[in-house]
């Protein structure tokens, strides 16, 4: 096993990987940008090295600096986390060239799945069902014709895309030119590659993905599905495992196809095969994420498998410890992504200082977070600041537990997506498990629902104003009793009852 691992990432996932390494007795090396000097991943790692200024392009995306630190610190392996360099074949290659193990698939496998159109072709050849669509790099005229042939609605997607960037849904021919333009612009900015392609929009559809583990000895298994249909602008917000739409038979069939997809590109390590699932139970390959996913904990909670530790074992050349038939699923897990976004203002990201923090805990609750009191949330990085995951014996228990944990999660100083999640957990459609990728289109956040206690806020504000006036006065003229008189009134009241 490795002696020392560098984590080329930040935030909750860097903390997650540090923990997994510590639990296997592996020393950890953190890297950090200037604004992350006191971040949790720096404080929890055994060693830490600066790699540049705040913008990711000058720090977390700098392959040269990270490799330099890896060499200086003498690490055996690098874990890329998700995002940043995780799906960059050049980074995997640079690790290989430096004689350092990249904890993930080979550069070839990343490349084969990274080009979405190429991946579609490989999958079709391997007998994996794909969504009908076009070649990559088509021009506007070709796109118009292709959309007509596929039938509206269609999806415009970036060939180099991922994470919803450069993606647009188009319902009529009139909207298409504008969408193409925007998609190209975003794709160029995000990936330096503005090639796009079209796909038929499967609608209604669920986003269901299969977690894969593949060792370097030819063994590939799957850990079942995750349901990730609750999305906003193609960004997942809530995930669960298992899916209310998947029974044992469908799980087996989707799992087999996912294993076939992984084998088709000689995949090793952990990966995820994403599918669209239509109401008839047909499923179509979307793409393969050649890395750890944000939502991996829900699979861990229902299978008992620690995916990050398995990544380490696989990268170190170990054989998988399970055959497919050893994998069992127990209970239900749900994850809510807590973001620094204002759900009542169009999910606008916001920044600021965490002035107060109390994170939920207790039975069945897992928090993956890098928050701390006094932390500055900046706009330099992804607005996801924490993940809240719960396990329940049944889906109903998991939902109730998630509600409880969300209410307990107190983050002061910035607006977060917590009120949004509370309302989803209370919505009848969610509770009934009737999910599809446009779930949020039909879901209206209710600001009035949200404000359940305005009169309490009013009373509290008046009392606090009064208390602060008194304290200010007391500083000038010290009083004998620090106890406010209305506290005593309350006591008397209680005794009288």
């Amino acid at each position: 096993m490795f002696k020392k691992v560098l984590i080329a990432n930040r935030g909750e996932i860097a903390v997650r990987i540090v923990r997994a390494c510590q639990e296997r007795g592996i020393r950890t090396v953190a890297v950090y940008s200037e604004v992350d000097r006191t971040a949790l991943h720096v404080r929890y790692a055994d060693e830490a090295y600066p790699i540049g200024p705040a913008p990711a392009s000058e720090s977390y995306l700098r392959i040269d600096r990270i490799i330099e630190v890896a060499k200086a610190a003498g690490v055996d392996a690098i874990h890329p986390g998700y995002g940043f360099l995780a799906e960059n074949p050049a980074f995997a290659q640079a690790c290989r060239d430096a004689g350092i193990t990249f904890i993930g698939p080979s550069p070839e496998a990343i490349r084969a799945m990274g080009d979405k159109v190429q991946a579609r072709k490989t999958m079709m050849a391997a007998g994996v069902p794909v969504v009908p669509g076009t070649e990559e790099g088509i021009d506007d005229e070709e796109a118009l014709a292709a959309a007509e042939a596929l039938g509206y609605p269609v999806l415009v997607k970036a060939a180099a895309g991922g994470g919803g960037k450069g993606m647009r849904t188009v319902y009529t021919p009139e909207e298409l030119p504008r969408a193409l333009q925007a998609a190209r612009r975003e794709a160029r900015a995000a990936f330096g590659d503005d090639r796009i392609y079209l796909e038929k929009l499967i609608d209604p559809a669920r986003h269901v993905e299969i977690q894969i583990l593949a060792d370097s000895h030819g063994n590939v298994i799957h850990l079942g599905e995750r349901e990730c249909s609750i999305q906003r602008r193609h960004q997942k917000l809530i995930e669960e495992a298992p899916s209310t739409a998947v029974d044992e038979d469908l799980r087996r069939r989707m799992g087999e196809v996912a294993v076939r997809a992984a084998r088709a590109v000689g995949y090793t390590n952990a990966g995820t095969v994403e599918f669209l699932l239509d109401p008839e139970g047909n499923f179509y390959f979307l793409e393969m994420n050649t890395r750890l996913q944000v939502e991996h904990p829900v699979t861990e909670m229902v299978t008992g498998v620690d995916i990050v530790k398995e990544q380490l074992a696989i990268a170190a050349g170990r054989r998988l410890r399970w055959r497919q038939e050893d994998i069992r699923w127990q209970g239900w897990a749900i994850e809510c992504r807590i973001t620094a976004e204002d759900p009542f203002n169009n999910f606008l990201p916001n920044s600021g200082k965490i002035t107060y923090l109390q994170e939920p805990t207790g039975p069945g609750v897992r928090v993956e977070s890098s928050l701390y009191e006094g932390m500055e949330v900046t706009l330099h990085y992804d607005p996801m600041i924490a993940k809240l995951i719960v396990w329940g014996e049944t889906r109903a228990e998991a939902i109730l537990r998630m509600r409880r944990a969300l209410e307990e999660y107190r983050i002061g100083g910035i607006k977060t997506s917590i009120p949004f999640h509370i309302q989803v957990m209370n919505s009848t459609h969610f509770i009934a498990g009737r999910l599809h990728t446009r779930f949020l289109d039909n879901f209206t956040l209710n600001a009035a629902d949200q404000a359940r206690h305005p009169h309490v806020a009013a009373v509290a504000a008046a009392l606090i104003a009064r208390e602060r006036e008194r304290r200010a006065a007391a500083r000038l003229q010290p009083q004998k009793s620090p106890q406010s008189p209305w506290r005593w009134a309350a006591r008397l009241e209680a005794l009288r009852r």
């Binding site: 960037k165 925007a182 612009r185 975003e186 900015a189 995000a190 602008r233 203002n345 169009n346 606008l348 990201p349 916001n350 002035t355 107060y356 706009l379 992804d382 607005p383 969300l406 209410e407 999660y409 107190r410 983050i411 002061g412 100083g413 607006k415 917590i418 009120p419 509370i422 949200q450 404000a451 359940r452 206690h453 305005p454 009169h455 309490v456 806020a457 009013a458 009373v459 509290a460 504000a461 008046a462 009392l463 606090i464 104003a465 009064r466 208390e467 406010s484 008189p485 209305w486 506290r487 005593w488 009134a489 309350a490 006591r491 009241e493 209680a494």
Partner: protein
Amino acid sequence: MKYYVTVDGKEYEVDIRDDGRVFLGGEPLDVDLARVAQENLYSLLLDHRSFEIAVEEVRGGYRILLGGELYEVQVTDERRRRLMQGRSKPAAPHGETRVTAPIPGLIVKVEVTVGEEVAANQPLVILEAMKMENEIRAPQRGVVRAVLVEPGQSVDQGAILVILDDTV
């Protein structure tokens, strides 16, 4: 002392007597406010119902986190209210709508030109932030009086992007 508290546009009268009794809109309440360790955290028992309250002081009031919900609250008291009475509100610039950047970001595209008539909800500017494009739309119909940004320019939160004349 009577306090006038505005929450989400609704005003509440909270009367805190010197003998410690508290009334909300004239109704007596059983209240117990206790500070928890830090400066900005309180436990409130209101008729024995328990609320945890994290508070931030902001201009003219507080931002209150309560049961996972965030309230913007303005507080004034009877003394200050008397002082304010008789004064008139400053006049808002009539007929002018300033469209501002809701987050810091990069101007990717300006979709309108001065003099152009725009409908409510029509895209004015595309602002890139957090690697996503955000369409900044017209809050109401009007005529573009001024465009204050150009593509490639970085803007801070609150920067004025476009001024609309909505009287035309």
